[in-house]
Symmetry: C2
């Protein structure tokens, strides 16, 4: 396709010059020629919003490019695409809102903004007939937002299972491979630059919950708020959990899971209660036992992977670097090019699909899952029978019981129980009852077992 | 986004009602409501081209939908999107050409047509301002065409490594796991319906070469013809190759590989000849040793996977069902919805990026690779020295030599050699020289070892 008229320049305003912003600025300024060729028009970085112009930076940018005034970007008619990579909810949300309102296209890498305000901003973009793209907000450079919105759109999506936090996956990989404990794993992740000084957002699953809210909203055409995502972090996991997991044929991963049930699906397991018949979603982030032969069990270190299951596609997995300067830059610039190419061809934005499924986000109490349970108990006869009775009374069927690591000094033993599919509320009730048993010293851990074969 | 005016119906003409066509027809006719909601406009299957209307079919379609006359679709002004799933070069190419020429959008699952005529048809679509989408032509339902054209566009793509033929991957998986020989593996694949009565297209790598030509053309912005793809099939592999591969830490996979070299890349290995400095491509389909820890080594059975390496993204892997009715239907309907949504929003097609890189497709002779070599030799002193001398004379550095399976009856032994990176032409010359040695009974196999770590 040749352009006879001289194509006009496409102006970019960049907000943020941190790790990702630095990568984006570098590619936009140093690789302008190949990018412009791919776009079909010159692409020009016009302004970069920073907090402190005087801060020393390794990246050399033309004089006058930096500004501390957001209006230098938002009010500049020559800026057609605003790239927001500053992170955090405020003022990023407000800047994106203003950019869209004034008819600018927006590319953002901001998972928090998209999790909290994505649907409103998307609706605003539709009204304004501009594009709002956010491929970089989940999974770094791994294409997942685009495929969910386009390539997989024909599917009735059944589930998402994702490893979308590199920090925790790094720690879990170290714990599994080298049997370090959680605190040592975290310290190493911090030393490697994979975890922040305050690692709460990562290890408590907050970051993963934001990303899951974004993915689930797109996949199920239903607004999913990050606050609706059930969360458990990884700090309860101990080295022996990894040992037992391996013996039982599993890896332990922090999974972000969204599953649609009650929609013509068969009931899972033998619940005493009938499965709900109104389609609803479970959205949750927690450590999970993953069968060793499953591809997600093989995702190690800081890598990310997202598995999507649809009625037509079956299961498709996207795997790669889920964070970091270059991969995230790949996604941001990919979005910039997509918008630039639309501008060049005079192609109107296609509005996002409507969130018209209005699925109910179900409370965890009704979840059907298999479970792994680790208890510290008095090492004497009859304890197993007491535990089995509690589980039996609650209709929880035991898959295996192993007594482990008897300690003659304290006269205690470790008991590992795995169950067949059971209801979450029954399982939680069983824990309460077990804790009341004299022989039970501690309920150490309860981890859900993801079982693809039974679905 | 609400549509105030009554949206017009989008008419679909389907060409072909085989395995994939049946899936597409079923979804279009039985799931019309959810599809129309996603499209923002009613989608209607208007006509289906078949060879024989009277043929008994399990799928119930409205009376009068079937036709044997292609013009009932191509000349019908109410058909806006032609879906071609008949397969084969002719008459599919001609039908697609006519559809585009008369201003219809086209969705095709046809790898052969896209490998042979893709760039011309794409250019025609641009001129006609219509869309030509072909996600289903490679990797079944796995999103790979869309991500390459859009999400990964910011990258300078370095390589593609793909398992894109399910039939051969099924046979190789059986050979590796259960140590069956090639003929037994093939027979089983045929019994399972994974291989056709004449399996040549699959086992000789022709199918994979078509798909690689499509992927490489998009990834490298350079026309790659299927005839330029170097091909070796899987029929030379024997059970002991899988045994030795496993001992050496590898799986054996039929990989479709495209690599760009000579473009600021470091030279690979210690070649006697300097690496070429003009950027060029190697495109090839052949059995490969894949390190067991690499994700591609874990892709088993009929599953497919495509790994793309870019300067920004690093390596990203797409994994899923690469063939079959439902997965392919997912990709076809995904493309239909993308076009329908553009029609509804009045969004002009964005022309494909130009194939303006004009990279040279290099002959295999200059390829740098590690190799695995299996020889049957006379079991006597001095043979190894002769072989080592030949390799040394050609500047091929030996990584390991193992003597295996001595047979006292025939007084022969099997020798397995692995090399450090060497030039393909030197390696081929070494085989000729070895075959001339009296002590060498047979050069049984030469398999390239893919080594990501050295790249």
């Amino acid at each position: 396709m040749k352009f006879t008229a001289r194509p006009r320049e496409i102006g970019i305003g960049l907000m943020g010059l941190g790790v990702v912003g630095g990568g984006v600025a570098k590619v936009l300024s140093h690789h302008a020629h190949p990018l412009s060729r791919k776009a079909g028009s010159p692409i020009k970085l016009k302004k970069v919003l920073v907090r402190d112009i005087a801060k020393p930076r390794s990246l050399l940018l033309p004089h006058g490019l930096l500004t501390t005034d957001s209006q230098d970007i938002l009010a500049d008619p020559e800026v057609q695409i605003v790239v927001e990579v500053m992170g955090g909810e405020d003022p990023a949300t407000q800047y994106i809102h203003q950019a869209l309102s004034s008819g600018k296209h927006v590319v953002t890498a901001n998972k928090e903004v998209m999790a909290k305000h994505g649907p409103e901003l998307t609706a605003l973009a539709s009204t304004q007939k501009v594009n709002l793209l956010f491929e970089a907000s989940v999974g770094g450079g791994i294409p997942i937002i685009g495929p969910l919105m386009k390539d997989l759109l024909a599917n009735d999506i059944r589930s998402i299972h994702a490893i979308i936090n590199g920090t925790t996956n790094y720690i879990l990989t170290r714990m599994a491979r080298d049997r370090v404990d959680f605190h040592e794993g975290l310290k190493e992740a911090q030393a490697q630059g994979y975890a922040e000084a305050d690692p709460t957002n990562d290890i408590d699953g907050i970051d993963a919950a934001y990303k899951l809210a974004v993915l689930a909203t797109l996949a199920f055409h239903t607004r999913v708020h990050a606050t609706e995502v059930y969360r458990e972090g990884i700090s309860r996991l101990q080295p022996q959990d990894f040992r037992y997991a391996q013996e039982l044929g599993y890896a332990i991963k922090l999974l972000a899971i969204a599953t649609k049930v009650g929609d013509g699906e068969k009931g899972q397991g033998k619940s005493p209660l009938p499965p709900p018949t109104v389609p609803h979603l479970y959205v949750r982030v927690h450590p999970s036992f993953v069968p060793q032969e499953h591809m997600l069990a093989k995702v190690d270190g800081v890598l990310n992977a997202v598995e999507v299951e649809g009625d037509l596609i079956g299961r498709v997995l996207f795997h790669g670097m889920g964070a970091g300067r270059e991969p995230t830059t790949s996604a941001v610039i990919g979005d910039v090019l997509e918008i630039a190419r639309k501008i060049v061809s005079g192609s109107e934005p296609v509005p996002a699909t409507e969130l018209d499924e209005h699925l109910i986000i179900a409370p965890m109490s009704g979840l059907m899952s298999k479970y792994y349970l680790r208890l510290n108990v008095a090492d004497r006869a009859g304890v197993l029978a007491q535990i089995a009775t509690i589980l039996g009374d609650l209709n929880i069927s035991i898959a295996s019981v192993i007594q482990k690591d008897t300690d003659p000094a304290t006269q205690t033993a470790e008991i590992v129980v795995t169950t067949h599919p059971a209801r979450e509320d029954a399982m939680q009730e069983s824990l309460k009852r077990m804790e009341r048993l004299k022989a039970v010293r501690e309920v150490n851990n309860l981890v859900r077992i993801e079982d693809w074969s039974s679905k």
